[in-house]
Each structure stands twice: as structure tokens, then as C-alpha cells.
Symmetry: C4
Subunit: 234 residues, 4 copies
């Protein structure tokens, strides 16, 4: 018979697994409930159901927090640990909401989502990602820096070419930055695009350079991951 | 002179190859016929041609199924095998359609397409893909999970920024999810896009993180494939 | 003093290099001229200039062809070789155009563009690409096959979801194929997109699978290129 | 106590670090100021603030340039070095602007941004990038060349298919080039897209080839980077 401590802190016992899965299921369900609440013209009956589910969720999460605090060897260490703070932030907004509007604070509950990473089976993969990130960190930072400069130069450039032709769309460098982001990430909504010959030729050249810059990080991460995998097998 | 069993089950004899290619050609043709049927304002003559072709196709596939069942060493093993079930599903809808509308059930015929993978020349490549998938499975699953969370966070975020400015387009978190999918995959149809400054800055940051996440799986698969190739040559 | 044969067939002499660069420059200029001719409302003076340039170009290319044929050790071998045929196709349309409309046949001149690959400095890179292609050929073919099936399934799926809501845009499976191409390549023009909830959820799932499939070939080519580079240094 | 030379030319002393960070902060701030100036309907008070900030910035940069010139061992070597010229170009426009409109010359200040690369911590990463670029240079040049040809062929092709259906959008090969750029980079603004069946089938095939070509450079750079990293650890 596993102790309460074993059930809550580990997932190698059947009851521990059930406890973990219940908490995780509740997290996902409360996120879905959070989304449903934003639906327009929600029938009054649904609103009441969601409120009851919210109270139920917070009750379970509060119980979980109290139990985790109770079974922890060092109370203060748990309370100030990452997961301890996350657990508290997941229930605190509810209790604070009796006085204030809870719309914005409720976003804290999202933090609880990180706990799903605890799943034992993903531990190795996460460690590998962490190692891969450390390997490629410098290049990723440099790419972030180069991307910023490229976006800025693209915005400055297109502003000079398109400002006179489309004074509303390319009203300032900041407006042009939106175009730079949408274009260099190849999203291309179609709300802003160059119409002058100069602007189009500039777009061509900036895309030629930009495509190389913007999609390299993905290659870096993938490459670092394979290096990290090789390091493990050595 | 090859036996009927050799013709049907192998493709190393000339007649066996012809048999395989005939079946494959018929699969492709029946898929094209299936597409043509959806064309609006199809002349009545075409409809009749397609119906006759459909009957012919099913007749050949039925014969094939019966022959495969006949030459199989273990009848039940074939009938319950993947390809046995697929073969049956390819002809069953036709016979069931005499009573019910066959529109939706006809999709079963698509399953028959998987049989093309049997082509001997692709066997090695498929095994390599399978091995590569096993190598990168954990990372792919983790990426799927991270993508889901990122899409959810993007939807929550853009909902808060754009809901007041565009209450129809970003009506709820679920409506915003559509924006998140279209943006993070860089498809960018242009039917939904942020117009507020906050929403645009949020889009920039979510794209900065998102581009790395969404395009990494392709790099993972490619990287795992090269590892799988090296494993073969060792 | 280099012989005529050395000047024409090699580029290791100064005159040979000048000859090569002149031909290449003329190829690029004739392509630009070809593009300018399509400009609407072209002044009559420009049209005449382009015609004179066209005659000049063909004169040079004809001379080049005759000289190459003359200096070739085996006349018939050159005339039937890839570059021999390309050289002929580059000038033939002009001579044939005295009777017939030359608009469509002129496209043959594009074939001449392949001769630029002859540039000595790119020889090593091209050989590497060729080797990389041989390494990744089977996977690339399989990916082409999987892409085709995925596009077809995407078209079938979206047709079922969107046909009733947008009978004009998703009129048939063939019309839906256009959507599938535009979406899975992440181009996303915005001329066709799903508006039903079912269609949007389907788009999400097909993109989740599709992104992995469509962008893997680039990774395969890059990965095979690095393998090819390693093979050279061994 | 560090000498003036040590403060300005190195960043290993506390005062030297503060000096470097101050200059870098001022660069970023002056770039932001440059962007704010382009905002339409800027209140007069802001314009005056920006002018004062501009004078302050130039004063600091001028002092920096004079000090750097003063402490340099070889005055002429510094003045004609890359950073010496960049430093001069960062302040020169201001002094020249008393007579002429400074709008376009101000872009020179952007050159100053390159000085941020001096940051010691990124030195290793930049060297790695430089090495990776040398490794993949030939393939990148070839890809640039292939991309140009592909864009040209795409423009010629779509012009033939769409010119008659959309004479305004696909008015010439040059207009079609814009479509080719927007499509092959998968930006897809939605301002130009094929509407004929022929044009759409052509788009499908050009995308099938194009996707492989356009996204390979990113893979090449990432692959060369991992090779460069391995070379360092050997």
C-alpha cells in the first residue's frame, strides 16, 4: 500500500499514475472550459455549468496543493519552488476574484500547463532539448539579433519605397515593421504589400536574404538535437 | 509457367508484374473517376461512362479479392490481415450502396491506395522511414504537444488583444485558434489578421517562437533519416 | 596562340574565357530582351531595337554553332549531344519564324540557359548535387508520392466539408486540389479558404501532417549534400 | 586605473564595459528615434525632443570618433579601417544636413549598427558563421543561380498561362516575376494568383520543384554550421 507521499510525488505506483492522470485531465478540461467561456451568446445554463466546474476544479487543485505542501519534507522549499509557485498561482486567482474582475488574472492558470512536462516518458526528450538548446544557444541568440536588424532594415527600406504610394498602409517605420514581420516569416496575410516597382524589387532582395536567416534556427535546433542524441549514445 | 499464387502474391515474374501494374493503374483511375464525379454540371453521358467504369473496377477488385483469398495459405489470416481488410473495404461499399447513399462510404476506397506501398522498389525507403520515425518519435510527440500549447497560448493571447477591435472575427478563443493555426503554419490566408498595435506586437513574438517550433519536425525527420541511412551502411 | 578549338571548347585560355563570358552575357541579355518584348504599350522605337538585337544574337549564336560543329572531332556526336541539340534549338525558332508565329517556339531559347552550368567553377558543386540527389533519390520519390496522396486526401476531405457552404469555390475535388496545393505549400493566397468549423478543424490536422511532409525534402537534400561533402573529403 | 585607450578600445575593464554599453544603447535609441520621426501627425513637442536627442547623440558619437582617432596607434589606419569609416559616416550626415535634406543620407547611421557585432561574447559564433559560410559558399551561390532561373521560368510560364485571363495583373514577364517571387517564397500575399486551370497546374508543378530549391539554403547553412562546430571541437 503506497503512502500518501508516494501517490502524490511519484507516478510509479498504479494509484500514483491515476492521481497524475486525473490532475492532468482536469488541467486540460479547465483550459477547454476557459475557452468555452469566451464563446459569444453562451446559453445561461452552460454558464452555470462552467461556474460549477470551475469551483470543482479549484477545490481539487486546492486539495492537491495542501496535500503536496503537507507531504513535502521541506515545506518552505516546496512553497518557493517553481511547481509550488505554479500550483499556488493556479488557485489564487479564484480566491482573489471575489472582489476583483478575474478575466486577466485567470491567465495564471495557464502556468499549470507546464506541469504536464513532468510526465516521466518525456523526461529524456526534454533533457535532450535542453542540451540541444545549450549547444545552439549562441547561434540562436545571434540569429535573433540578425533577425531584428533585418526586420528593421526591411521596414526602413519599404517605408522609403512605399510611403508615397501608400501613405496610409506604410504610414511610418513602425507600420512598415508589421509588413516586414508578415513578409519575412512568409505568413503574407495580404493586408499590406508593396505596389511600386522599387518596393517589389526591394522585397525580392530582402526575401532572398531573409528566407535564409528566418528558417535557419529550425535547422540549428534540429542539428543540435541530433548532436545531443549522439552525445547520449556515446 | 508461374502458378496463380505466384502471379498474385509476388511481382518477380513478368505476368506478376503486369498483374500488379494493372491493379495499381485501376486504383489510380478509380480515384480519378471518383474526383470527376464531383464535377458540377457533368454531362449525362459522362455519368453513365463513370458508372460502367465503377462496375468494371469493382468486378476486377472482387475477382482479385476472391483469388487472393483462394491462393492464401491461411484463409483467415489473410481475411483479417491489414491488406485483406483493405481489399474487402475497397469493394464492400459498392455492394452496400444498393440500399443506402454511397457518397460517404465510398471514401473507403481510398484505403486501397496504401497497397501501392507494396511496390518492391520502395521497400527499403519505407523501412528507413519507419526506422527514422522510431528514432525521432519522442521528439515528434513532444513537438506535437508543444505545438498544441503554443497554438492555445497564441489563441488566448490574440483573443485578449483583438476581441474588442474585431468582435466578429475573434469572437471566441476557438475562433482565435483558427487564426493561430493559419499564422503559425505561415499559411496566412488573409481572412483573419490582427489590426491593433498590441495584437501585431504579440503576433511578432509568437511568430518568433512559433517558427522555430513549427518547422523543427521537418528537420528532425530529415536528421533522423540520415542517421537511419548511416545505420544501414554500418 | 590558342587554336580556334581551344578557344571554343575550353575556358582555360584568356581568349577562351572572354569567348565564354560573351556568349553567357548574350544569353542573359537575350532573356531580358525576351521579357521586355512582353511589356504592354512598348514604344515602336524599342520594338525595332529589340528586333535588331534579336537578329544580332541569332547571328552570334549561329556562328557559334557552326564553329563548334566545325571544330568538333566527331561532327555527328556533337550534333546529337545534349549541348549540340540545345545550341540548335536556340537558333532554329528564329529561322522557322519567317513563316509561323514565333511566340511559343521562342521558349526553346530558354534551353540555352542550361549551358551556363558549364562554368568551370561550379563543376564541383554540381557533381556534389548530383551525388546528393542519387543518395536521396528514393526518399525524394517516396516523398513526391506521399505528397500526391496527401494533396488528394486533403482535396477529398475539404470537398466534403466545404462543398455545401461554398459550392462555387469548392465546386469539385479538382477545385479543392487547388486549395490543397496552396495550403500545404503554405503559400495561402487567400482566394480559397475553409469557413465551416469542420473544414477548419480538418485544415488544422492536414496541416499538422502536411507541414512535416512538404518541408522534409529540403532537409533531405541538405542532409544528402553534407553526406556527399563528407564522401569527397574521405 | 585604466587608460583612455583601454576604456575605448577594450571591454575587459568595468569602465570599458560601461563605455561600450552606453554607445550601444545610444545606437539603439537613435534608431528608435529615427523610426519615431516617421510617425504621421507627430506633436510639435515630440519633434523638438527628437531634434535635441539627435544633437546629443551626434555630440557623443563625434566625441567618441575624436577620442578613438586620438588613442589609435596609427591614425590613418583607423580612419580608413571599416569601423573608422562607419564611425565617420554615423556623424557626417548631421553636419552635411545644414545645407541639404538629410532624409536619405541619414540611412548611413544604420551602418553603425554593425559595430554591435564587436560584442566579445558573439565573437566565437560569428567566426563559426563565417566558417560555415565558406563551407557552403559554392552551394549557396549555385542555389542563388538556380533560384534566379526558376523564378524566371516561373514568370515566363505563368505569363503564357494567365496573360489572356488577367491582362492587368500578368501584364508582362516582369509583372509575372512579382508573382513568382511571392509564390516561390510561399509568402502568398493574395494580390496576384492564377485563375486558369493551366496556370494552377503550372503553379502546382513549379511549387513542387520550387519548395525544394528555395528552402534548401537554410538547410545548407544549418548543416555547414554543425560541420563548423565539429571542426572546432576536433
Amino acid at each position: 500500500m503506497p503512502t500518501l507521499k508516494e501517490i502524490v510525488e511519484r507516478s510509479n505506483t498504479p494509484i500514483g499514475r491515476i492521481f497524475d492522470l486525473t490532475i492532468q485531465l482536469l488541467i486540460v478540461l479547465s483550459l477547454i472550459a476557459f475557452s468555452i467561456e469566451t464563446l459569444p451568446n453562451l446559453p445561461q445554463r452552460w454558464v452555470r455549468c462552467l461556474q460549477i466546474f470551475e469551483i470543482l476544479t479549484v477545490a481539487v487543485f486546492t486539495t492537491e496543493y495542501v496535500v503536496r505542501l503537507f507531504v513535502a519534507d521541506h515545506k518552505l522549499t516546496f512553497a518557493t519552488s517553481f511547481f509550488g509557485v505554479v500550483d499556488l498561482l493556479a488557485i489564487l486567482p479564484f480566491y482573489l476574484s471575489f472582489g476583483i474582475d478575474l478575466r486577466s488574472i485567470r491567465a495564471f492558470r495557464l502556468l499549470r500547463l507546464f506541469r504536464m512536462f513532468k510526465l516521466a516518458r518525456y523526461n529524456q526528450a526534454i533533457q535532450r532539448f535542453h542540451r540541444a538548446f545549450l549547444i545552439a544557444r549562441e547561434e540562436l541568440l545571434l540569429f535573433l539579433f540578425v533577425t531584428m536588424i533585418l526586420l528593421y532594415l526591411a521596414a526602413i527600406g519599404i517605408y522609403h519605397f512605399e510611403h508615397d504610394a501608400q501613405p496610409d498602409v506604410f504610414a511610418s517605420v513602425f507600420h512598415s515593421l508589421w509588413w516586414a514581420v508578415v513578409t519575412l516569416t512568409t505568413v503574407g496575410y495580404g493586408d499590406v504589400y508593396p505596389i511600386t516597382i522599387g518596393g517589389r524589387i526591394f522585397t525580392f532582395f530582402i526575401l532572398l536574404i531573409g528566407l535564409g536567416v528566418v528558417s535557419v534556427p529550425a535547422g540549428l535546433v534540429a542539428s543540435a538535437l541530433s548532436t545531443a542524441r549522439e552525445m547520449e549514445t556515446e
